[in-house]
Structures are given as C-alpha cells and as structure tokens.
Symmetry: C2
Subunit: 473 residues, 2 copies
Amino acid sequence: MTTVQRWDVFEMSLHGPASGNPFVDVAVGAEFRLANRIVHVDGFYDGGGMYKVRFMPDEEGEWSYSTFGNHESLGEHKGSFQCIPAAAANHGPVQVANTYHFSYANGLAYKPIGTTCYAWVHQTNQLQEQTLATLRNAPFNKLRMCVFPKSYVYNANEPPLYPFPRDSQGENDLSRFNPDFFRHFERRIHDVGSLGIEADLILFHPYDRWGYSEMPADVDDRYLRYVIARFAAFRNVWWSVANEYDLVKTKTLADWDRFFRILQSNDPYHHLRSIHHSKTMYDHGKPWVTHVSTQGDDFSRTPQLLAEFGKPVIYDECKYEGNIPRRWGNISAPEMVRRFWLGTTLGAYVGHGETYLAADDVLWWSKGGHLKGESPKHIAFLREILQTSPPEGLNQTSDYYLSAGRKDKYYLYFFDLHQPKNYEFALDAEPSFLADIIDPWQMTISRLDGTYRGKFSLKLPGKPFMAVRFQAQ
Amino acid sequence: MTTVQRWDVFEMSLHGPASGNPFVDVAVGAEFRLANRIVHVDGFYDGGGMYKVRFMPDEEGEWSYSTFGNHESLGEHKGSFQCIPAAAANHGPVQVANTYHFSYANGLAYKPIGTTCYAWVHQTNQLQEQTLATLRNAPFNKLRMCVFPKSYVYNANEPPLYPFPRDSQGENDLSRFNPDFFRHFERRIHDVGSLGIEADLILFHPYDRWGYSEMPADVDDRYLRYVIARFAAFRNVWWSVANEYDLVKTKTLADWDRFFRILQSNDPYHHLRSIHHSKTMYDHGKPWVTHVSTQGDDFSRTPQLLAEFGKPVIYDECKYEGNIPRRWGNISAPEMVRRFWLGTTLGAYVGHGETYLAADDVLWWSKGGHLKGESPKHIAFLREILQTSPPEGLNQTSDYYLSAGRKDKYYLYFFDLHQPKNYEFALDAEPSFLADIIDPWQMTISRLDGTYRGKFSLKLPGKPFMAVRFQAQ
C-alpha cells in the first residue's frame, strides 16, 4: 500500500478531457476518509489532459478516497493509502497557539523570524538557486513571496513564466492558467519548505504592469480556488491575501472580505490567513484573519494591537536594512536588529528585509540572491535566544515597557536607547532566577553570579541597547 | 547725569517704613518717561526699611522718572538718567521673531540651545561657582532653573536659603519674603546673563516638601508680583510658569491662566512666557503663551505643534543623557545629539539635560556642577552650524521630512536612521548652492565639488545619522 508521511502530500493523477477549456469547464476532486472523518478536497487541471488531486493527511492511519468530477473519466476512482508518522524534521503546518503565538501542528513552538524576497520565484533559475543557497545559511524561518510577478523600482525585468497564457501582443487569456508557471511555483514552495521555511504566499499585490491587479472578480475567484487546489497541500503554506492591499485601487473592501471567505471555505487545512497594508489596516478583528500582519516601525502600537485583536502580531515590514534613496529601504543593520528586539520584548514578531543598491538591480527584498547586510547574523543570535525561551511564547510583562516573558519561568528585558547604570527589577517572589546580561549587537551573553527573585537592583553596563534575561533555575 | 546702557538695569533705592509688614502693606513704584512714552513699574521691599525700583530702559535718550507709593516717604521722588547705547555683548531681551523663531531686541538672531540645572541656585556657593565655570565653556545659551528649591530623587538636601522666613519648626511665614533669598537668586540671574545665557525661570513646580507648591492663591499672586518687580528688569529673564504644571495637584487651570495674566499685566517688558507639562499640555493657543515649551521625544509631533499654535516650539525636555534607572534619565550621548538634529531639521529647538549617577548626588540636570557627558561638544558643533544659518530661522521644507531651511538661501537635511547611498534632492531652480556632507557625531563638514540647483542626485556616505547642508552661493 502507498505510504505517506503525516503532513506530507498525497497526490493522484487522473486522465480527463483535454479539449474545450478544462480550467473553467471541468470540476474534479476527492473525498478522503479516516474512520468517521471526511475531508473534501478540490483538484485542478494541470494541462495536457492531466488532472491532479492533492491531499495533506493530518492523522496517521489508513485513509481511503473516492474521486468526484463532472466528467465520467474523473469520478469514482477509489483507493487508499497508509499515513505513517512524520519524519523528525516534519512538524506539520503552523497554527496559532496561546493566543499571541504560534506552534507547529505537532506542538513544537514556532517563533517566526521572517524575511522578504517578494519576486524571487520570478527571476532566472540561477538566481533562484542562489537565493535558496543563501536561505540555507540564513536565520529565517518564514519567507514573504508573491505569486504574481512584480513591477516596481529595481524590478523592471520580465518573469520567465506568466501565470496566464499570453499572446504575442502580451494579451492575457484570463480564462486559462499556465500550468508551467504553477508547477514551477510550487516546486519553490517545496524547496523553501525543505529548508524549514514557511512560505507566506502573497496572493495579490499592487506592483503590476501585466494586469494581474485588475482582473475581473470571477477570474480573481477562480485564481484563488486554483491556487488553493494546487498549493494548500504543502504544509509550509501561509496565505497573505495581499501586500499593501490598500494600494490596489481596483478592489473594494468587499472584494478582500470575499477572498478571505474563499480561502476559509476552500482550504481544507486552514492555513494561516493575513493581509498586509500600506497606510490603512484591514480590520483584523474579522474572524477569518488569523494574525496581524502589519507594516511600520512604531512599535509602541504593539500592546494596543495585541489587546484589540487578541491575535499574534507580526511586523512583516518594519522597513529594510539597506541604502537606497527611499525612506523604507535604508535603515542600518543595528537599527534592524534593534527593531527585532523591540518587537520581541513587546510580545510580537518582526520580519527582515534588505535593500542594498546593486549594479544588477538584484536587491534581496525582491529578487533574493546574496545577503549583503550585517543584520542577519545578529538576528540569528536572537533566534538562538528564542529557541531556549518558553515554547508557549513571550508576553509583555508589566514591570517594564520592553520586557516580555512567562510568569515564574522567564523574562527578557531590552533597554533600547536607555543606558541605566543600575535598574531595580521586580520579578516573581518565587522561584529564583539565573540572570544574564546580553549584548544583542556584540552577541555576548554574560551570566551573573548568584540567583535573583522578587525586587532587586542589578548593576548594568551603562551602555545603550543592552538586554537582560532571567531564567527560572 | 547717571548713564545706563540700553537694556541694562537702572535701580533706585528709597528709604521707607520698616515696621508692620511692608511686603503686604506698602506699595511703591515709579513711572518712567521718554518723550511721549510712560512706563509704569512696580518696586519692591528689600528688607531693613529699604525699597527698590528697577527699570530696564529699551530706548536711548533721557528718561525721567517719578516715584509713587502709599507712604509719604516713597512718593514723588523725581529724577532722570541718560540711556546710552548698549555695549557690544548686550543684545537686549529675547523675543519671538518670524513666527517660529527668536531674536534679541537689537535684531540679532537668537537660536536657543538650552540646558537644565533646576536647583543649581539652591546648592552650596562652591557648587554654584563650579556650575558657572562649567557653563562658561559649554555651548548653552539658555538655562532652565527653578525659583523654588527642589525636593526629588537625588535632591534630598536642604537649600542654603528659603524664599519665605521660617521658624525653628520649619513653619513658613508666607506673609513675608526672605530678601536674602531673592538677592542671591537675582545675582545668579545676572551671572548667567554675563555668560550670554537666558535664564528660563521656573516659577512653580511640583517637587516640593516645604509647601511652596500648595500656597494660598493670594500668596501665589503676591509671590509672582514680587518676582516680577525684582527680576523683570534683567534682560535675560524668561518666565516658565511651571515645570510639569499638571503634576501640581493643588492648582486648577484657572490658577495657571491667572498666573499668566499677572505676568502679562505686570511685566513691563513682556519677557517670553511659557509653561511646561508632564502628560497633558496646557493650551498653548492661549494668547499669553509666547512659545511652546514641551516635553517628550516624539519629534514627529513638531509640524502639528508649529501649525496648530503658530509659535516657536522648544523641546525643553527630550529626556536626559545619563545612566540613572529612570526612563527619562538614561539616554546615550549620540541619542541626545540625534534629538537636537531631529528638532532642528523639523524647524524646532531642543534642550539638553544630563543625569549621570554620582556618589555625591550632584547630577547636572538639577544641581549643576561638572558636565560628564559626551553630548555637549557635539551640540556645540550644531550650534556653530546654526550660527552661520539664516538669522531668520529654519522652517521645515517640503522636500524631505527632516529638512529645514529658507527658500533660495539655505537647506539643512538630516538623514537620521536612514543611510541612503544616494539621494535625489529638489532645491530651488535658482540660485546655485554649495553642498556639504556633515557628520554630526564625528563633527566633520566635507564640501562637495561643484554647485547644485533644482533636482539632482548626490552620492551620500551610506551611513546613518548623516546631514547635508546647502548654502546659496
């Protein structure tokens, strides 16, 4: 019997009609059953008369299936497979945990340390391979990437593949998809997944010269269902409905609501769903938004965002390390690292991006390639610290405005611009804590003598940007 | 004939009654005349049967005077003096100029670079002399200082002198003043004036254990009139009605309004009037407030403050360089310098303060003494730059959010956290400008080759915290 790891992809291929327009005319899918459970999954047309149904089993055991379709060649195919335990590196999809945090489906904590390569999949294969090689040695476990190609400053090149067929005048045939485009794209989802990276897929965006930001509603909806049918079975998929949705002038709030509902209804696995703004935030209180994906560098908003929405907060864009002549793309490496610490000690998460000028216009933030900046290694240092922090996540504590932790267990303080020579801490009366002075930029951790509890004063280095960690003994 | 420099103090002494309570019972003053002008000036009782009337003539020529009083010994004294041109270092009192800026009465530009020694006058004479020696070599031209002594953290000592007589139990006699206290205080006003420093006198404050923050209204008002009669003739006096007025819980908004009106009606010279807050700003739109004296480090508020009130904006407290365990007292020197540049390039002014821990509790911010920090020499560098900027002051320009200047004349850009490798500037089409790259921390000014006008791109250092200056040729 076929075996499939838990949270891996089971895929079946079916032959069916190749004439007419199967993308529009033909429906296909399957019902998967385990004991009393039934999971209804849509399939998709992959061109050349081939149809596919993909399924991500989330439970071990013998799953049976039966296909359905509106053409006789596609319905009533039956079979089964054995879902076996996940391999060690396979933790399943990420979901919200403990209100403000995340975990993998197997319960392992997931602490997002994201980066951004919006259009890396739309570059040459050589450049894509370079991006993957860079990611292999980088600290990031989430990647924001656009499904559609990108047209913007430093992004003048044409993509190797287009999502819809085009004629010689560049006119799109929006009634069909280009299976080559999507096969390539999903290979890249799989590639970053193999590196332990969540693919935060941006489904719409305003940086467009091909017409993908102004398609009719029926095309938008078909595109979404096609993307769900193809991609949702990959466990590392997240749905970011849009980047800077409020700059997409052709759509209304009702459109964005509808897109969320399509994702919510059609994705059998309920991957994480968010939407990213430029100036005006989408109402993150709506039930289909799983977490706050925000832009900006005013971290003082964090407590309000957490309290208002009761969901995890990710600063997916806090501006980029770089040196381009745009305000959003020229902060220094120390400032980028500082922002990670600000977000972390306010109980939120932060994403990285990099925009250093390049003669070949290959800026990491969009095209990937090499990382040129200094921040990633310091972000890696923070990631290591978070790996030994409580798995349930760090919530802001009341003692100091930049301190997050878990009562009786762990506290992380960040002193930002402040350089006190000593500071009076107020921890729990019990237990006793070990204390470390952390220098986020020098990447040193200095254990202090003794143990600490309740109220006490500590001598600090008297330098800005220091951190202090307390771990229950 | 007696000669008095323009904007110097003419003082006359009169013998009068010493019995009863002259502070309350006796009124004295004089009318000063020059051609058709009449200036009505109140005098004050200086103890020991001596009364004084002080006057600051603001116009050259022969002034005549005639005293008045409610006791026969004080009225109808007549005389005259010759007001002669001011000496080179005497520019007269500071006033608002060009809506958002300041000038001396002789028209010379005044660009405030303030510091803060709240209680320096209430320390030992030795420490006061040390403070004056420090100020002599510091870059500051404004000093915030409290009339009343201060009780607060690091401020536990008793002052050498008290403003009101006290009995052996420490009970104040609020019906009288202590002339020794005020004589000493006004000597210190004069001393800082000799150093070219404006004395921003704080008339009320909440840091009190002697009762001066909770006096009855009639005592408050008598105190104000006494202070005006004694101090207003010193040209370097500014009135700051309170520090953190909203923390003085014994007074209402109507009280603060009344204090302003007393100053407005009784100060014949209309010295600058402001009020400083903790959390809630006083309504700076009220007509008796001459400029905005604000607290905080959110400089992004500046354009709104300027637009809303149409008055100069001074960040009198943007937190202090230091290392004490209080958020307001432990920013680094580079951060303090950065804040001066932020305020300057937003068209406002910024004040300094310093709070480094000291075994003797002598922290500059309150007691004066020595400066220990690194920021003053970098602030001096900015002061030099401002000295060669347009005398009419720098207003925010539209090209970049941190750029201030004067059309066709001068522009100063600050790139703050941003490190663009190049930047496209948009100056006036005419004239041509000389360009300098300025490093505010390294204190270097590098003149670029050539001249610049209209739109052009400049190569920049690609480091954070750089500035660029353009000066019309």
